[in-house]
Amino acid sequence: MSTEPVLGSEGAQKHLEELAEHANKPGRFAGLNQWWEQQPRVKQWAILLPIAAVVFFLPVINPPIITTEPGNDWPLACFDMARFALVALGLNVVVGQAGLLDLGYVGFFAVGSYVAALWTSPDSSAVHIPYLWTLPLAMLVTVVFGVCLGIPTLRLRGDYLAIVTLGFGEIIRLLATIIPAMRGQQGFKEVGHPPGTGSDGIPIFTNNHGTPWYMLTVGIIVLVMILLGNIERSRVGRAWIAIREDEDAAEIMGVPTFKFKIWAFATGAAIGGLSGALFAGQVGFVNNQKFDVVTSVLFLCAVILGGSGNKLGVIIGGALVSYIPNRFTSIADYKYLIFGVALVLLMIFRSQGLIGARAHLLAYGRAARARTRELAARRRTPEPTPDPAQEAAS
């Protein structure tokens, strides 16, 4: 098999070889990441599982120094971190992957909360359903909201989208205030929770018991991560990144950009609604006070801080945005100032966020990587040189 490329001068070839080497050898800075990618799946899991176990039992372990006590209840703080992480995961699809700046994400979160409240709270006169059913219902309703908001606005240029979504978030909050059925500041009390009672007859899921809520949310996060990962490594995920990088080029290369943007919006909305419903269940009370623009910006900060476009990064970002004010209560008053300044500084000095890893977009990327390595190896083995002795003889 001839490896003579159709194109390429000698210099270019040399450069290609360097690139191939670079792609396959750990670099000086991206070393850990490169190393990780080259490990076999089994080894990756062997390292991941203990970490996952620690994360899962975090509220029970209650590690000293890290704990937010005595200022804030640790299991509840854990649930709050998980909630932020889930929100960040959803917003990341919209902002990090499709590159659509959504400043009204709290609107979806609010819709999810209200869905849970309306269908479970005794204050609501709507039909009542078990709490767990409100989770998919909340996702469904927010997807409808997302698509309704997306169809008129996603044809707009990116910066118009930002301000329209900002307006959307406010409209949702104002409607919750104006429409009497939404009960304004009075709100809905005794929002439902998942079933089950412990051995002592006390329900497992209560407002002041964070651990079960945390574990439920972490389980959901894992599930969402797996599903989102599948989407990321498909034509959908690739189309999102292409739209983010150069929307016009994507359209011209055959990507139906409008459709994919709607999909991104709907996916993000569904996750926002899901986290809203979880939040409503844990707090047990929903009114119009928690869904302002400020919260939208905190969500955005979670995505940017962790590393926009990177699932693990935004989870850490979300957890941090929730954790810092809970742990360091003395600076809690400054949190909005700190996160505002952080956004500016991050954009200037480290726009890729804390974890600046690139997402993988190919389902069988390993096969391609192996092929590249093989090509590079073949290039490095010299052509069989004629035997000098034989040459001398002739």
């Binding site: 098999m1 001839s2 490896t3 003579e4 490329p5 159709v6 194109l7 390429g8 001068s9 270019a12 450069h15 290609l16 070889e17 690139l19 191939a20 670079h22 792609a23 396959n24 599903l227 599948n230 989407i231 490594r233 498909s234 034509r235 959908v236 995920g237 690739r238 189309a239 990144i241 292409a242 983010r244 990088e245 150069d246 016009d248 080029a249 994507a250 359209e251 011209i252 290369m253 055959g254 990507v255 139906p256 950009t257 999909w263 996916t267 690139r358 977009l361 190919l362 389902a363 069988y364 990327g365 096969a367 391609a368 990587r369 092929r371 590249t372 090509l375 590079a376 290039r379």
Partner: protein
Amino acid sequence: MTDQNHDEIPEVIPDYVEPAAPPSLDSEAAEKAAAERDIAVGVGQTLVEIDNLSVTFGGLTALDSVSFDIKRGEILGLIGPNGAGKTTCFNAMTGVYKPSGGDVRLEGVSLLRKKQHTITRMGLARTFQNIRLWGEMTALENVAVGLDTRHRTSLFGAMLGIPRHRREEKSTIERGMALLEFVGIAEAAMTKASALPYGHQRRLEIARALATDPKLLCLDEPAAGFNPAEKEDLMELIRTIRDDGYTVLLIEHDMKLVMGVTDRIVVLEFGKLLAEGPPKEIRENPAVISAYLGEEAQV
């Protein structure tokens, strides 16, 4: 239109040099890279008709009733001095501009009022004069997006990993790598597009356009910024693409390249069709010499 090639336009039209026989391609790669498309028209028949196409900007007529055909299996050169309407014609064909009159038909189907992504799916792919790759994606991922135009997995299919999705993803790797090998940059498959050297970026653009399985491949000044050796290589590649059964429309400033690689040339001037014919004829056409090259040669 860039002006960077002005100095590269030769004063006289170079003699047509019979190209050397193309190097034997990696046959396996070529086979994998080859299109699986079904084209209604036979070789030599009309693939694209440009019929009285006009484009106006405000009061300015950039393209004035231009008509020509592109035949299946040929390399057609589109040339003309700066501002002659080459890129305008190109953009009107690919749906970037809305023509004010006339029609563009691919295999008899009008491309007007079609969305840009639909035009690409119908079989008309292009490269960009000023490279427009998705910088954060690897070379292979860039090609994969091109391949995805032929894929049909939905959001849910991808989420749940249905068999079709897995099948499509496997073929993406296989065909994507083959296309990269075909244009000669397979080793950089895992490199971010923005980190590739200029020449590789141009080749990647061609691979990405080929990935959409085009009936007509439009190359917009693919040799801009290339040195003579690289141009030579590019000519080889374009010929190989044609030999693989693609039809190529080439917009190019460099006369040597155009004369050396095309089967037929269309010359535009001031938005009008000036001449049409094989390179040899065009080279000897007095109108072309005076209008197009004369002004350059006299400088």
